[in-house]
């Protein structure tokens, strides 16, 4: 193995598992430290720079950071990163004057944004302060996209949504609600310099089986139904409700049903639990409200009596699994009718672009998804960009935000007439965290405390009020404990090979045995030659330059490092140092700064 090039900004970035996993690369340990210091406003602004909607995402983010969190490997559960984001949002002071402001003058470039969801809002957030004249077209009468239409208020209160969208609109962004775009061609001919399409994946899948049409009055498409509830067109449902599908939309549907009068709600899954698409915590939240989740039920037909839905017939499935848990064989063991008054279909959603003419240079693949460049987010027609669910199909809010950031860079370059793919590279800036003898600019001690549980509103009260937020937020004690669980992975262990005298002190003190001094070898062999074999291949090995006395190399397995700094404290020559790594993730304003610098 060759010595590791730690100047490659991705090396240290990958060590910060949460930040690396976050599509928008939010500097998680940094904002958690700020919360620990009581700097909630600062923590909020650090978040906002990356993910634009800390209050919203602090409640409903899909949290790719948490499964990645090193704490989950060291102990059992990851740091409650998402909950802490909400802490920053809930406890911040007024930030209106601290977020980007409306510029004194515009640059005359007009940008049309279609759909007021998280992708378009992010593009506007990034471009408006630079002087771009952004106009968002929204078919509904309120902005937010799926955040308002599909996510129930008991998970995401409307005030939180309105406030964070407000910060963007206040930057001089024009919002045209109730304005559905019927023709892209017409729009693109009306004088815009660029068009961004962030119209989501608004079409819920239907289930065309026997009885579907006869029972239509009591069969609902999940996302449409949630939207009708959100916009108060629907305020009740029958007593016995079946939800078909077991993704996150299904969880929102079953919990919403309970709040609209249903008292027996069952979620019907075709496959066993390990195949569920819903996030584990959303499943838990639904089950906590006494929703039954039935596995191995495959829909056969809707049972209709006298023109009215009375139940649904299912095939009872049996699956053979192989060692890796994949299905190798399927058998139908029988059928069963489950009575119900209503059925909600939550079996997926699709993109739909009936309003995009097929002859204006935008190419689509065979599934009707537009062909979009994964770096620039430009479609096959110059100046027309896609982002969010409309670009690559349903993902989640944090992905839409990242698409928005990237599309904003592209739109800026498009308007400047420069090449879309000559983007600023990422960077890393290291600064020693040493404050004195064994004193660091971060809290390096380790606490064995387990993850704090989110307190919830009382069950009866929350089921009787559709808008009552279920999660009440961490208490002060919970915050104080949870922030200390963060391992500060962004404070990196930086090694200077020429200083090492091979005294073994760092190896002996390391609480997770991640350091070894061994003869250099190929990676597979090296991984087995360490003090503890490095079997997590997702995690890199750091390999030093050869050491001066023996020619061996220092190896660090990044897998379990606590970033406790004991190696640096025990090192007699400061060959190990703890250094705060600031990962530079370029946004469009950095691109403009670069131009100014040139």
């Amino acid at each position: 193995m060759k010595p590791t090039d730690t100047r490659d900004p991705d090396y240290y970035h990958k060590v910060v598992d949460c930040q690396w996993a976050c599509p928008a690369h939010t500097p998680v340990p940094e904002y958690i430290r700020l919360i620990a210091q009581g700097e909630f406003t600062e923590a909020y602004l650090v978040n906002r720079r990356s993910n634009v909607f800390p209050g919203i995402l602090g409640r409903v983010c899909d949290r790719p950071c948490e499964p990645a969190c090193r704490r989950g490997r060291v102990e059992e559960e990851p740091v409650a990163i998402c909950r802490l984001k909400r802490v920053a949002a809930d406890h911040r002071d007024e930030v209106k004057h601290l977020v980007p402001q409306k510029p004194a003058s515009t640059n005359g470039k007009k940008i049309a944004l279609i759909g007021a969801g998280p992708a378009s809002l992010t593009v506007a957030n990034d471009l408006a302060p630079l002087g771009y004249e952004c106009t968002i077209f929204e078919a509904h009468h309120r902005p937010g996209g799926l955040m308002i239409a599909n996510i129930p208020s008991f998970r995401l209160p409307e005030e939180v949504l309105d406030e964070e969208i407000g910060y963007i609109l206040d930057q001089g962004v024009e919002l045209k609600t109730g304005h559905r775009i019927e023709s892209l061609q017409a729009l693109s001919e009306s004088g815009y310099d660029a068009v961004f399409i962030g119209s989501g994946a608004p079409k819920g899948k239907d289930l065309r089986i026997e009885g579907r049409d006869e029972a239509d009055a009591n069969i609902h498409i999940g996302i449409d139904w949630l939207e009708s509830v959100a916009f108060e067109h629907v305020d009740k449902i029958g007593k016995e409700v079946l939800i078909i599908g077991v993704g996150n939309t299904a969880m929102d549907c079953c919990r919403t049903s309970l709040r609209l009068g249903a008292d027996d709600v069952k979620v019907m899954a075709r496959k066993p639990r390990q195949f569920f698409k819903a996030s584990p915590w959303e499943l838990e939240d639904a089950e906590d409200e006494n929703v039954d989740i039935l596995v191995n039920h495959s829909p056969k037909r809707f049972v209709v009596e006298n023109g009215k839905l009375t139940g649904m017939e299912f095939e009872l499935m049996e699956y053979q699994l192989d060692e890796d848990g994949r299905i190798t064989d399927t058998k139908i063991a029988g059928t069963k009718i489950i009575p119900c008054t209503d059925v909600i279909l939550a079996i997926g959603q699709e993109n739909a672009f009936p309003w995009i003419e097929r002859d204006i240079g935008i190419e689509f693949d065979k599934w009707g998804v537009p062909i979009v460049d994964e770096t620039t987010f430009e479609s096959t027609r110059k100046g027309i960009f896609f982002g969010g669910d409309s670009a690559f199909g349903p993902k989640n809010i944090i992905w839409a935000v990242e698409h928005g950031h990237q599309a904003a860079i592209s739109i800026h370059k498009h308007c400047e007439g420069s090449a879309l793919d000559s983007r600023l590279p990422r960077g890393v800036n290291l600064q020693s965290a040493k404050m004195g003898v064994n004193e660091w600019m971060y809290s390096n001690s380790y606490t064995g405390e387990h993850r704090r549980q989110m307190p919830l509103a009382e069950l009866k009260a929350r089921l009787s009020n559709r808008k009552m937020e279920v999660e009440t937020g961490y208490t002060a004690e919970q915050i104080a404990t949870e922030v200390q669980r963060c391992l500060n992975c962004d404070v990196q262990t930086v090694f200077e090979a020429p200083l090492c005298k091979e005294c073994d002190a760092c190896m002996d003190i390391c609480p997770v045995d991640c350091l070894s001094i061994v003869p250099v070898a190929e990676e597979a062999e090296l991984r087995q030659s360490l003090r503890v074999p490095a079997n997590n291949k997702d995690q890199d090995l750091f390999v030093s330059e050869p050491l001066k006395d023996t020619g061996r190399v220092m190896i660090k397995d990044e897998n379990l490092c606590l970033h406790c700094g004991l190696c640096a404290e025990r090192c007699p020559t400061a060959a190990w140092d703890m250094q705060d790594a600031d990962i530079f993730i370029p946004h469009v304003d950095d691109e403009t700064r670069k131009v100014a610098a040139e």
Partner: protein, 350 residues
């Protein structure tokens, strides 16, 4: 001293036959200087005890005074131990051993504690063939009193301030050989692949086992001109024999390179495999061992490994026919037979 204790995390570590991870064999946090060789010896001891599946409470740690003698606190927190008067550790170990021969005695000493103030004690514990592992953490310097030459400092080596040592050193291995020790080894704190098997073999050796470990003083004796620095030791480090220890209960597997290895059976049934790294060195030849050690002074090579082994000598317990049962397990009535028995005994001397 570090800012905090080492966090206890061991779910990633294998467990030994007692269900313990290597972390269960650690003690309190070391207060020695960062980079001290002694901490590395401590880590080797921890590793060896874990590998031997030794119950921590079966060990008794004894030490005198000095940086090295402090280290008994840093391993096996759940065992017995005493930190006694400067240079008097062997006497206390002798008494303890007489009272309870069942424990694994681990003496930790330094070049000051063993070769100056405790030189006589050191010699007599060897003569008695006390059943113990005696680790001499040798850095050639008095670290606790800020860097004076010790009796182990090499002739011509330089102090931190540049003064040359003009006295001849005492070599503890040569001393042990002349005094009739059955297990004499030299090692280096920087090479645990050698040190850990030696500690295991020394613990299992029935009788006095000396390991002289070159353990650099990072604060007062790690400069150019020192012959006990890390850099100097790495440069002149020369293992003569490689030792593998296979405990009695374990199977001799292919993991041990047996080609051309000398196979020595220990008294408790464990086996040692000794592989010469080069030349014709036979660790069973006492005269050759002494000659080799005296010779290396001129060549500068630091010859390490298990230098001499004779596992046939009776230890103190056997030689003196001491009772096999530890005194704390002897019933009170037998241990103190009373006035009448005393009178009877005294009558024998009238």
């Amino acid at each position: 001293m570090t800012s905090m204790s080492k966090p206890f995390i061991d779910k990633h570590l294998p467990k030994n036959k007692l269900g313990l991870s290597v972390r269960n064999y650690e003690g309190v946090m070391s207060t020695l200087c960062a980079g001290c060789g002694h901490d590395s010896v401590t880590a080797a001891l921890v590793q060896a005890f874990w590998e031997l599946d030794l119950a921590p409470e079966s060990a008794a740690k004894v030490s005198g005074i000095g940086c090295s003698s402090k280290t008994t606190a840093y391993f096996m927190g759940q065992s017995h131990g005493i930190n006694c008067v400067h240079g008097r550790m062997p006497s206390v170990a002798t008494g303890a051993n007489a009272a309870n021969g069942d424990l694994n005695y681990i003496g930790i000493s330094g070049d000051g504690d063993s070769l100056s103030i405790g030189f006589g004690q050191f010699a007599h514990s060897i003569r008695r063939n006390l059943n113990m592992l005696y680790i001499l953490e040798n850095n050639g310097v008095y670290g606790l009193t800020k860097g004076q030459f010790s009796a182990a400092a090499d002739y011509g080596s330089k102090s931190k301030k540049g003064i040359e040592n003009d006295q001849m050193p005492i070599d503890p291995c040569v001393q042990a050989l002349t005094l009739g020790a059955g297990f004499v080894a030299r090692a280096f704190s920087g090479d645990k692949t050698q040190l850990v098997p030696l500690i295991k073999a020394g613990l299992k050796h029935k009788g006095f086992a000396l390991i002289d470990v070159i353990s650099p003083c990072v604060t007062f004796n790690d400069h150019a001109g020192s012959t006990k620095s890390y850099a100097h030791t790495y440069k002149y480090y020369h293992p003569l024999v490689h030792t593998d220890f296979v405990a009695h209960a374990d199977e001799v597997t292919g993991a041990y390179d047996q080609d051309g290895a000398m196979r020595v059976t220990m008294q408790d049934g464990g086996e040692l495999f000794l592989r010469k790294t080069e030349s014709d060195y036979d660790p069973r030849d006492r005269a050759q061992a002494i000659e080799t050690l005296l010779m290396n002074k001129t060549e500068g090579e630091i010859r390490t490994g298990l230098l001499y082994l004779n596992s046939d000598l009776p230890d103190m317990q056997a030689a003196n026919k001491l009772p096999k049962t530890p005194l704390n397990q002897v019933p009170y009535e037998s241990l103190t037979p009373g006035k009448a028995a005393l009178a009877k005994l005294q009558a024998r001397y009238r």
